[in-house]
Amino acid sequence: MHSLRFDGSFATWRQAARRALLQGLAPHQLQWLDEEAPPSLFDQPAEGAPEPSGRLRVSPELLDLLESAAQYRGDERWSLLYRVLWRFVQGERSAVLAGDPDGSELHRRLKAVRREAHHLHAFVRFQPCKIPDAPDFVAWFEPAHDILASASGHFAERLGKHSWLIATPRDGVYWDGQHLQHERRCPAQWQAWAQQPEDDGQALWRAYYGSTFNPARLNRTVMQQHLPLRFWKHLPEGPLIPQLMSEARAGAQRDGQALVLAGRKGKRIAQINEGDAARPPSASVSGSDAPDLPR
């Protein structure tokens, strides 16, 4: 058994895997130890060993697949990748297909990684940051897979010339308006900026969220399928969710109106007849709140 220790990056793994393939090491002869594996007596550094000679041909598509799947955090993170690569190089092309036992696991991981990138795009919440030297917007996020580096470019397209950063418990990204900097260990300063207390602007969003919800359609299961519990605590609307649910369940109200508006004094509008002249605005509303009158 060869235990190969490396830094947990795909680039280093790729070099090491290449070397192992050229040495003809079968998947069951290898143990991959990334930075999270506890050190052991028999570790061999993956780097620095003499380069065996030989040629390997691996399609760029397969490399892309492996690189994406490598973002998956979980057991056998690296050994599955090596097994797929090994079988593919041996001519077993089905190793990468979703119908194959290894391929199926590979695709499950690819899907989980894509889904997590999507979660990042959906559920990151930026907050304007007024601290000198800090970027315009900051966000804290806790992704389940290592998608931050590859999926963050999306926000550079959204936010134009604004600078921003996303800090996580592990890594972090910083966009200064022109370049994206990724740190595998998120600097403490970035983490501090990202964990500022909530600003006033979040109240507007919460008001919107509460009102756009239709209590007559309460459906907790579907909601949690799409918005897993682990994200709630980082969303400004998070604390509101259980509250809205229990109010709706209590059934105080069977129609769709938001509870905060229920029973409030309203305003009926007079029927408009052909040829009606313009009427003075009613006393209860004024300015831009007033209705337009028929021409």
Binding site: S94, L159, L204, N214, N219, E237, D255, L261
Partner: protein, 403 residues
């Protein structure tokens, strides 16, 4: 009135419109540019409300003052609800602020009818124009089109909006006359036609002005009147055909406060709405026709999904040999989707399909089993009556309670 107060009222007033998607826009990016906003064709749901619905856009009315008296609508003029009106600048501020916080991917703006159809439409356009021109906003914009608005205004709206929509509201003209007396089927279709023409011109003539690249959609309210699913699906099918709509949204009628006697005050028919969406998806993505799904008058089954219902009614087409059949026929097998059908196609070019391949592709085997043949499997229950199969395959009450 405070901005937060207006927002509370005007989001509540807008929530009954289900069409909140942010998909279909061309690729746009603000990287290194002034302004903000991007689109990439795919929609993003930035949150979900406890009703399980996606929050993709800031969905609000410009105002809920309305001169019309549509019986199913909380904003009808005879309704005793708090009223408010945003200025265009307020809508712009809210959109940009929420957008930067990554709470939304854009704006879906509609309005009660104030003064006249044209005036109302002009107000909506003004917001979109401000966002696009003054603020160089490149995010998603969906504008509701007021049916009686002049064609020039619709053309102008198409310059700024990604999507335009005119609501068909009710599935039949009789119901529209009864429940929305000021609305008119003719002008709704006329507006859809104008949008369709605008889209076609923009596509076919290179120098034609930009026009709503994410196309048009509509919404039909289900359960406010007595129309059956068959009429609804046939109606949707002609809308897809006549105006190339991107989507028909079905909205289970939700009871409204101080409900008039003309509409039901009952829990919204959510399971029925769900079955209609499934049937609609089969028409858009799988090549099913409305007649295949519901040959005569009546409603879709609630206990089984429409694809299974079709398979049970067409046993002569089954079982399907996964090693031989066309991918399009494989996609018609209950429990096997278009993607799995394509993957089976790729796999069988390498080797023969076996039963356990379906497990790995995560097909719904319970449903697929009676309808397929693989190299090592034939359905033992092929001779079983459809009635018995239906008993075994129906969604359990627990699953149905989801809806």
């Amino acid at each position: 009135m405070q901005l937060i107060e207006k927002l509370t009222i005007l989001a509540d007033a807008a929530k009954y419109d289900a069409s909140c998607a942010s998909s279909g826009a061309p690729k746009r990016s603000s990287k290194g540019k002034d302004g903000i906003g991007s689109t990439n064709g795919m929609g993003i749901c930035h949150s979900y409300t406890p009703d399980g619905r996606c929050v993709a856009l800031l969905k609000i009315l410009l105002t809920n003052f309305c001169l019309y008296d549509c019986q199913y609508c909380i904003n009808r003029r005879s309704s005793d609800v708090p009223r408010a009106r945003f200025t265009p600048e307020e809508v712009v501020t809210l959109t940009l602020d929420f957008y930067k916080r990554n709470c939304i991917s854009g704006l879906f703006l509609s309005s009660g009818i104030i003064r006249s159809a044209d005036y109302t439409m002009e107000q909506l356009i003004r917001v979109a124009k401000l966002l696009r021109q003054e603020h160089q906003f490149r995010g998603y914009i969906h504008l509701k089109t007021i049916p009686d608005a002049a064609p020039e205004l619709i053309a102008e709206a198409g310059l700024y909006a990604d999507r335009l929509s005119v609501n068909i509201e009710l599935p039949t003209e009789t119901s529209l006359v009864r429940l929305a007396p000021e609305k008119n089927v003719g002008s709704i279709h006329q507006a859809m036609h104008s949008i369709h023409l605008g889209e076609r011109e923009a596509k076919e003539e290179r120098r034609a002005p930009r026009f709503a690249p994410a196309g048009q959609s509509t919404q039909m309210i289900v359960g406010a009147d007595a129309t059956d699913d068959s009429t609804i699906l046939h109606n949707a099918q002609s809308l897809y055909h006549d105006y190339r709509l991107r989507r028909v949204y079905y909205s289970a009628f939700s009871p409204i406060p101080q409900s008039p006697k003309t509409v039901p005050f009952e829990a919204p028919p959510l399971l029925r709405e769900h079955r209609l969406y499934q049937a609609d998806f089969l028409m858009r993505g799988y090549g099913f026709s409305a007649t295949e799904l519901l040959a005569g008058p009546g409603n879709l089954a609630l206990d089984i999904d429409p694809k299974l219902a079709w398979a049970l009614a067409n046993r002569a087409q089954f079982p399907v040999d996964l090693n031989r059949a066309d991918e399009s026929l494989i996609a018609r097998v209950p429990g096997i989707g278009v993607l799995s059908a394509r993957r089976l196609g790729a796999l069988r070019r390498e080797r023969r399909i076996r039963y356990e391949d379906l497990t790995r592709l995560r097909c719904v085997l319970e449903k697929a089993k009676p309808f397929i043949v693989t190299q090592d499997y034939r359905p033992p229950r092929a001779e079983h009556e459809s009635v018995v199969l239906r008993q075994q395959l129906r969604d359990t009450p627990a699953q149905m309670a989801l809806w």
